[in-house]
Symmetry: C2
Subunit: 169 residues, 2 copies
DNA sequence: CAGGTTATCGAATGATCTTCGGTTCGCTTG
DNA sequence: CAAGCGAACCGAAGATCATTCGATAACCTG
């Protein structure tokens, strides 16, 4: 089962995130690595039914082509003393929307911030944060978000539980 | 499964999830594995400054104690043909809130579902989904969510971009 | 202060990763 | 249609790594 040649893809205009055709082996590799990123190459090769060398080359290609964006340990925020999680909806000033990417970039560098969703609708983005306590949360919302002149308003919702369904492709 | 007090930890009856003290080495290991879950044990040991055998024992203990919940490859949904992402806020019927865990568990098994946030506030939970197209999204909202009698209403917001700040502890 | 427990280390072994040359397959060219 | 070319695959072998083990040190606890 051969992979289609790269030649066919050349003519399209296409953004940087071009979709690359994935065959059954690729999908099996992705599913296995999404479930457990630390499987040995040997086991992975056996499971998807190719030689070890082929499997290694496939994984490297998937990383090179950004199909796999990274491998991460999922650390429980509570173990780090971050017992409180919240989802904060942020609305920006209408004239500040041009700089929205700066805002998001700055946010995602803060240690409390786990994820940022840039959304359509009444709010401009959602920020998923984890803090040690309500004090820290208040400080984040007050000092970091609302102090920014680009921010028109925020709405904070506590998160009781967060289930990551990833790991099952 | 409660996510209780951030306060005094001593008196509690203690679940399996009890907070365990982490030293500097543990934190360094967590930071390294959060950034790259596939570092070799040898490199990891050198970076955090302990022997390989000690490092291996530490990592195993962190996994055993659920400080590390898993190791996952971060796969770009677009590579799988899921070009559309959305955050769907779901409100349940007041008398259905007892079965909320069932609803969430059922949701998180669907292939479109990436994450589920069980929240306080006007909505009961948020569902982060990725679908191939608007058709699939409509089908998910209509056939899966609104068809469930426990669901009182939904509100769908498209996601333009999703930034994962994890990887930097 | 003795006993017991736990964490650490270094070295040896066993397993794995990674590279390499050779082969096949499909597509293009002459 | 055969030769040429490129891409992907495989198996084997050396380099590298993971894992186990016994010994040692540090720490409570009684």
């Amino acid at each position: 089962m051969p992979l289609p040649s790269a030649g066919a893809a050349a003519a399209r205009p296409l953004g940087p995130k071009d979709v690359r055709p994935l065959d059954e082996v690729d999908r099996a590799i992705l599913a296995a690595l999404a479930a457990d990123a630390r499987v040995s190459n040997k086991d992975l090769a056996e499971r998807v039914g190719v030689a070890q060398s082929t499997c290694l080359a496939r994984v490297r290609a998937l990383v090179r082509d950004r199909v796999i964006r990274g491998f991460h340990a999922d650390v429980d925020p509570r173990a780090l003393g971050h017992d409180l999680q919240a989802m904060i909806a942020v609305r920006l000033q209408p004239d500040a929307r041009g700089a929205i990417n700066d805002s998001i970039a700055a946010l995602s560098r803060r240690p409390e911030v786990l994820e940022v969703y840039f959304v359509a609708g009444a709010n401009d983005f959602l920020v998923h944060v984890a803090t040690p306590s309500t004090d820290e949360l208040r400080r984040f919302v007050g000092d970091v978000l609302n102090r920014d002149p680009a921010v028109a308003g925020t709405e904070t919702n506590l998160i009781f539980e967060h289930i990551r369904a990833r790991g099952r492709l």
